[in-house]
């Protein structure tokens, strides 16, 4: 691919969340200069990192809506993507459980919604049948909808793998690049960044998540109002396979948004959440006592013997919620808002699942708007995940040890990550620039000790690799630092 000079791009994608990265990877199939600009210092820093990681079956949304159909299609595409991009996807299946007659009506309605959107294999089963699948499920469950296509994935693995594959196929990424102003001039979109840089692109896709509606308003008078809506989660430590929860468990008693659920993760943890409450701002990712108590109460309603002492973390994410549309008409909006300017608005749950389908939809909108799609002969659909040292085979271990004896030195004991793994992650394409970036790529400090042992050590490794002082290593978004200064 050509080098990107003079800040020109054929297609500019705003936002490196799951939708932006899925689109970038989709566009890298063609001979195009594609640039992704991201406000944060890494991919997937917004809602894409703070969700349940469920590959939804597609029964939540109104039947036949874009939310429903893109979810069903995305669910199918996600399996291919996971294989191509070498990321774990566990086909665990989902249970939406009912505790009473009203609940049964609800799951029957969900089943009909799912079928209208094309979801396959949905069936109503008895409470006992549900307990055959998930033995610790409450004895109060009287019936359940079984959704065999419900699966789980690591949201950050997905976003990173999409971005890495897109990057390998020639897509450029700019981080710390926040869009300020968008104007049209002679069939070209001129996009100014807050840091003063300007990009000219004939086609723009606005996948800016929480900022998407505000950017959309710069190119059209007819946009949507998007407000933040918060969801809080509890993370449980890994448990023995004998006692682990192995299915996604939804409850029918609540609306789908308020529907706190239990979901295993591909790494063996368990998530409980989310809540759904209006937030002050999109930056308001504070968990609350009320929210966490609600999540714990629902989790124990589903699994009465759930041991709350296994909780190792809480977190909250904020959804982009369209508010100026009646609830029954609410949907994802992916449209050409102005000539050659495509916006993705109000992408919340099941946006992670829908993202591959929404990316294909955005490509077709760009093509209709005149974008020429010439296949890129060099496109490679596959990407190999990094294998941590202790999971590598003996030959590979010896090869890495001959390069660097640090490869065997364990820094994160909860997740079994070595110093060599951290160094390797820092030398990958789209290398992380922060402690948080290393953490999401390797899972180090995500375990039961929550980084209390490894974080200072990883911070030192990053400082060494970057050639900076420990106090100058970026910790996380918003300029957080682990080390303030030297003591003396």
């Amino acid at each position: 691919m050509k080098d990107l000079l003079l800040n020109h791009a054929d297609v500019l994608i705003i936002g490196a969340g799951v939708v932006g990265c899925a689109l970038a990877r989709e566009l890298s199939r063609y001979e195009l200069d594609v640039l992704v600009v991201e406000r944060a210092h890494d991919v997937g820093e917004g809602s894409s990192k703070a969700n349940s990681g469920i590959v939804q079956a597609g029964f939540h949304a109104r039947g036949g809506s874009l939310k429903g159909t893109s979810c069903v299609e995305g669910n199918r595409l996600m399996r291919e993507l996971a294989a191509e991009l070498d990321i774990p996807l566990v086909e665990c299946g989902g249970l939406m459980v009912a505790f009473d007659e009203e609940g049964i009506e609800k799951i029957e309605e969900k089943l009909s919604r799912g079928q209208k959107s094309g979801a396959v294999g949905l069936e109503i089963i008895s409470g006992d049948e549900a307990r055959m699948l998930e033995s610790r499920l409450s004895s109060a469950v009287v019936a359940a909808m079984w959704a065999p296509t419900t699966a789980i994935i690591s949201p950050f693995d997905l976003v990173l793998a999409l971005a890495e594959n897109a990057h390998e196929n020639g897509v450029q990424f700019w981080f710390n690049a926040e869009v300020e102003h968008i104007e049209s001039a002679n069939d070209i979109w001129r996009v100014s960044l807050k840091d003063g840089r300007t990009i000219e692109a004939r086609y723009v896709v606005n996948a800016a998540g929480d900022m998407a509606a505000l950017l959309d308003a710069q190119v059209t008078g007819d946009t949507y109002e998007v407000e933040p809506r918060k969801g809080e989660f509890l993370v449980f430590d890994k448990q023995d396979s004998a006692t682990a929860i192995t299915h996604v468990i939804y409850q029918a008693a609540q609306t789908d948004e308020g529907g706190t659920l239990l979901a295993p993760t591909v790494d063996g943890n368990l998530l409980a959440g989310p809540t759904s409450v209006d937030a002050e701002t999109f930056a308001d990712t504070a968990s609350t006592k009320e929210g966490l108590e609600h999540v714990a109460a629902v989790a124990r309603k589903l699994i009465p013997d759930l041991d709350m002492s296994y909780v190792i973390r809480n977190f909250a994410g904020v959804r982009a919620n369209i508010v100026n549309v009646p609830k029954e008409l609410k949907d994802f909006v992916v449209r050409e808002s102005a000539p050659r300017f495509v916006s993705a608005l109000g992408i919340k749950n099941p946006g992670l699942t829908s993202s591959p389908a929404l990316a294909k939809l955005a490509v077709s909108l760009l093509e209709q708007a005149g974008l020429t799609l010439t296949p890129n002969p060099a496109f490679s659909p596959t990407r190999r995940a990094y294998v941590p040292f202790l999971k590598a085979d003996a030959t590979e271990q010896q090869r890495r040890l001959s390069e660097n004896s640090n490869h065997a030195h364990v820094v994160c004991r909860c997740e079994a990550i070595t110093a060599g793994d951290v160094i390797a992650a820092l030398n990958r394409p789209l290398a992380p620039s922060s402690l948080a970036g290393v953490k999401r790529r390797l899972r180090c400090s995500m375990g039961r000790c929550q980084g209390q042992f490894c974080e200072p050590r990883i911070n030192n490794i990053i400082a060494n690799v970057q050639g900076v002082a420990a106090a100058d290593v970026l910790g996380c978004e918003h300029n957080g630092r682990l080390v303030a200064r030297s003591v003396k």
Partner: protein, 468 residues
């Protein structure tokens, strides 16, 4: 590569060293200690304060001094060490090899990647970890600047890295109190220590909190954490009597950029999750022993040493098929003495006792007996059980004396700090000034234990000496 060893000890902290020493001295042929760090001592090298060994040695040693004794004893006894090596799991395989039925999978350069070794017996001396913000489930945002007290202690005392300089400490356990003093001496401002109840040792309440007039509230907790990226403050609130609910009408916002959590320790024995019928239950099975904080958190290292010596003897008894009492007799007298010491000490904060009318209460910290000495208006003392108590109490009233401990900067990047202490006690009220002076010092060549860095520091008659 498959290695067979009589006894593998996991962890070279105070527990692992004492257990390995006892087993080796009792006659076990080959004892290997596996340690993930590049040095022995576990948490003690970062515990640069004094107060260790009061029970078993009758002396107030710093952490590095205490561990230096055990490091030497263990090496002299012929125990082998693998450093920079982590144990991944422990399994039992009865079928394959009856003598060496324990399998220990390790990773590290010394092991050439990861390797499984076989042992007749295994002692798990893996210590404990601290309860985290996540385990406490404190609501709020997730900025940097929230960490356990031990993590901050490692950063400050080993790495020369200060994570923040306006500090709130949750939990009045010993390490929280110790870190309040450390941070104060290093120039940070400790704005508040708060906790549900006073759980630290009485001597730490006096020497860490009261000595430096650090604000301290019992019955308070953290209701929420604030800040994006970096911590900017916490909301603190009192608990409604005998509940875990906060009285939010009395909540306050406290600005800080560092929140330390000293909220309890969790024995760390996940390496045993692969042992059938064991998991987290902590019940040992044949040939498997657990000692120190991995068994149960201890208040004092003296207790850990004592218990781990016994564990080492038990492991030797299992391996050699001899009685434990017979093997105990093989230990030198000074070690046998440790086994016979009764180790108990008072806990609780200053509010647990009050001065009586006409008398000032002074809790004695000279020895672990922790007498409360009352000095009457006429200058006479009651309550002390020995003369040292009276001397101490009189001195506390006129001019309290303390040992000052800390670190001095080196120019060696792989070991940026060496621990130091004053050779004798200095006036308490001069500690902050002298600590400030010490922080400006640096040494070029790595000094040895006992080296004098400054003679007669600040005309106190005390020398500043290296203690590692």
């Amino acid at each position: 590569m498959s290695l067979t060893i009589d006894l593998i000890v996991i962890g070279a902290g105070s527990a692992g060293l004492a257990a390995a020493y006892a087993a080796k001295t009792a006659g076990v042929g080959d004892v290997l200690v596996i340690e993930r760090e590049s040095y022995s001592g576990g948490v003690l090298p970062q515990c640069v304060h004094d107060g260790f060994g009061l029970h078993v040695y009758g002396a107030s040693l710093t952490g590095p001094e205490y561990i230096a004794r055990w490091d030497k004893l263990t090496r002299d006894a012929g125990v082998r060490f693998w450093f920079d090596t982590s144990v991944l799991n422990v399994t039992r395989d009865d079928a394959a090899n009856l003598d060496y039925s324990w399998q220990v999978e390790v990773a590290g350069a010394a092991a050439g990647g990861n390797t499984t070794m076989r042992a007749r017996a295994v002692i798990v001396a893996t210590g404990c970890r601290e309860r985290t913000r996540g385990a406490l489930n404190i609501p709020g945002t997730r900025p940097l600047g929230v960490m356990t007290a031990g993590t901050a202690q490692y950063m400050i005392n080993i790495q020369n890295q200060l994570p923040g300089d306006e500090v709130v400490i949750l939990g009045s356990g010993d390490i929280g109190l110790i870190m309040a003093r450390r941070l104060t001496l290093e120039g940070a401002k400790v704005r508040l220590i708060l906790g549900a109840e006073g759980t630290g040792l009485l001597r730490n309440h006096i020497r860490c909190v009261q000595d430096f007039n650090i604000p301290y509230r019992e019955g308070w907790g953290i209701a929420s954490i604030h800040g994006h990226g970096q911590l900017v403050g916490v909301t603190v609130a009192p608990y409604i009597d005998s509940t875990f609910e906060f009285d939010m009408d009395r909540a306050e916002f406290i600005r800080c950029n560092l929140l330390l959590l000293a909220c309890g320790l969790i024995p760390e024995r996940e390496v045993l999750n692969t042992v059938p019928n064991m998991g987290q239950s902590g019940i040992p099975v044949q040939g498997l022993f657990i000692c120190g904080n991995a068994a149960t958190p201890h208040d004092l290292v003296d207790q850990v040493t004592q218990e781990s010596l016994l564990t080492g003897v038990q492991a030797a008894s299992y391996i050699l098929n001899k009685s434990a009492s017979e093997l105990t007799d093989m230990l030198p007298d000074d070690i046998s003495y440790i086994l016979k010491t009764d180790i108990q000490e008072s806990k609780g904060s200053m509010r647990d006792f009050e001065s009586k009318p006409g008398a000032t209460a002074i809790p004695c910290t000279v020895c672990p007996t922790s007498c409360i000495v009352y000095i009457k208006e006429d200058g006479t003392c009651v309550g002390n059980t020995c003369t040292r108590g009276e001397t101490y109490a009189q001195s506390e009233l006129k001019c309290p004396m303390r040992t000052l401990t800390g670190t001095v900067r080196t120019d060696n990047p792989s070991r940026p700090l060496v621990p130091v202490r004053t050779s004798t006690e200095i006036p308490r009220d001069r500690m902050l000034d002298i600590a400030h002076d010490i922080n400006k010092l640096s040494v070029s060549l790595l000094p040895n234990m006992g080296d004098v860095i400054v003679c007669n520091i600040a005309n106190t008659d005390a020398d500043l000496i290296v203690c590692a």
